[in-house]
């Protein structure tokens, strides 16, 4: 079997002495779709920051396959309030995904523009290219950001709560898109609250509550004690009460 794309070994991280993650180990193979689940404050976002190499783990190691450079990771962040009313056209937003591969060259090339065009087409937003980002619906904005992420990567896509705030129709559309992106050979790592639907779209699940409670296949998770409890919405009484 080929080397895993990401190998995470006994990773721990603390903010100002408060432990956010402890003893997390897992592998991500090329073509996987890993979903990280857990309640608020369970360390999901911290793990995301580490995977994005914005911070380094205080102990343990995260090894990336040699071919995967930091500027080859696509990322779909959670939207900030400032972005929702940002005056930029969809094309400008999507093109900015090409920046990481530009290094010190100041301007985009024709190839960059073509790639942005392709990705907008792939996500069905080509007709919105000249529309203003702030005038789009939540689902359309997510598609634009996903197109931007695809402009940055061919290998690995990190998604942070991709369906937060979307209506059910837009949610299922977005999951279908993510599935089709994975079918094209892009490895997916997704952080989500939405366990019920995510389990249908993931190959493996990592359940965190600071420490890893479960790591394994999505089917095993559904069958496991913790998985069935969380899926039924009974995990962490306080949060759901």
């Amino acid at each position: 079997m080929a080397e895993p794309l990401i190998r995470c070994r006994d990773v721990s991280f603390a903010y100002d002495g408060v432990i956010a993650l402890r003893g997390v180990s897992f592998d991500v193979n090329a073509g996987d779709s890993l979903c990280v689940v857990g309640e608020n404050g369970s360390g999901k976002s911290t793990l995301m920051t580490l995977l994005l190499r914005l911070k380094s783990p205080q102990s343990g190691s995260i090894e990336f396959d040699g071919a995967l450079r930091a500027d080859e990771v696509g990322y779909l962040p959670q939207q900030t309030a400032a972005q929702k009313d940002f005056p930029a056209s969809v094309r400008e937003v999507v093109l900015s995904g090409r920046l990481s591969s530009r290094q010190w060259q100041p301007f985009y090339t024709r190839a960059d523009r073509a790639m942005a065009e392709r990705n907008m087409d792939r996500l069905g937003i080509l007709d919105l290219a000249n529309r203003c980002y702030r005038e789009l619906s939540g689902g359309q904005q997510q598609r634009a950001l996903l197109a931007r992420a695809l402009c940055a990567t061919k290998t690995l896509l990190l998604l942070d709560e991709p369906v937060a705030g979307l209506d059910p129709l837009a949610t299922s559309d977005l999951y279908e898109l993510i599935d089709s992106i994975r079918a094209d050979g892009v490895t997916i790592i997704m952080v989500s609250h939405d366990v019920q639907s995510v389990i249908k779209h993931a190959t493996s699940i990592l359940h965190l509550r600071v420490e890893p409670l479960f790591f394994g296949g999505a089917d095993e998770y559904a069958a496991s004690a913790i998985g069935s409890r969380f899926l039924a919405g009974k995990e962490g009484e306080g949060h759901y009460a």
């Binding site: 962040p77 900030t80 005056p87 056209s89 990481s100 530009r102 100041p106």
Partner: protein, 277 residues
């Protein structure tokens, strides 16, 4: 009207003021688009108060005003970004802290030395007579630097302004671009504040960006529109202040308010018409 204009430009000090003012307005508008969108609008206000404090100290020490205030204001800009990044004190609180402190220091220094005089009033509300030859050279230099950097880094500034986390995650040194913008803002403000006044200079940062955001739908058009609007408003403001003998800084702000109101009105009209259709 034309004769009034030619009469106006026959005064060397007025020509200098118009040149410096136009260049400063242009730079402030470009930087302002990014600052306003990043929710850093008040940074200009904070820095101009620091500028006031440093001008007071320069006067007390009988030193050249720019030589003292440029380094101090740049330092303050770095400090502001550092404090906001550490998130122990939030950005808006950090600015309030810094601007009131430097205002207080400035006022105490002034009252201990020269006392409250017209100079102080000019620092606060601006004076068209303040621009000398050095200011003209400096502002031309500044404008060239800001325009060149803005053109070269335009795509990166857009990316960092829109989504700093994404930019960082994909390997763009977002911190460096924030520093660059803060430093250029500090320079622009120190150059412009003696003409516009410490209390009014931040209008040059905020108004053009907000005005053009009413109507423009892409980052490129917002940027261009802000630059044009800012220059036009400054020119009309100066001419108005000459014709009606009103303070320059305040007149420029009034023209900016009027343009903002017009743009806002048009955008309201457009929204209503779209809703009706």
């Amino acid at each position: 009207m034309l004769s009034a204009l030619s009469e106006m430009f026959s005064y060397a000090f007025l020509t200098r003021a118009v040149v410096v003012g136009l260049l400063v307005s242009l730079c402030a508008a470009l930087l302002g688009v990014s600052l306003v969108l990043k929710r850093y609008s008040m940074i200009g206000d904070g820095l101009s108060h620091v500028g006031f404090g440093s001008l007071a100290i320069a006067t007390a020490m009988h030193a050249a005003p720019l030589a003292v205030s440029i380094p101090i204001v740049i330092l303050a800009a770095f400090l502001l970004l550092r404090i906001s990044a550490s998130s122990k004190i939030k950005g808006d609180a950090a600015i309030a802290l810094l601007s009131t402190s430097s205002l207080a220091i400035g006022v105490v220094v002034i009252s201990l030395t020269t006392g409250m005089n017209t100079d102080v009033c000019n620092y606060l509300f601006g004076s068209i007579l303040a621009m000398n030859r050095t200011d003209v050279y400096l502002s031309v230099g500044l404008a060239v630097v800001v325009l060149a950097l803005f053109a070269l880094f335009y795509n990166k500034i857009l990316a960092v302004t829109f989504d700093e986390t994404f930019a960082r995650a994909t390997g763009v040194p977002a911190g460096a671009y924030n520093m660059l913008i803060a430093m250029l803002t500090a320079l622009t403000i120190t150059l412009g504040m003696r003409m516009m006044g410490a209390l009014l200079i931040s209008s040059l940062i905020v108004f053009p960006a907000l005005t053009s955001m009413r109507l423009c739908k892409s980052f490129k058009s917002v940027t261009i529109c802000a630059a044009v609007a800012s220059s036009v408003c400054f020119f009309l403001g100066v001419v108005g202040s000459y014709l009606y003998a009103t303070p320059t800084g305040a007149s420029v702000v009034l023209v900016n308010i009027a343009l903002f109101a017009i743009f806002w009105g048009v955008s309201m009209y457009q929204t209503r018409r779209r809703a009706a259709a």
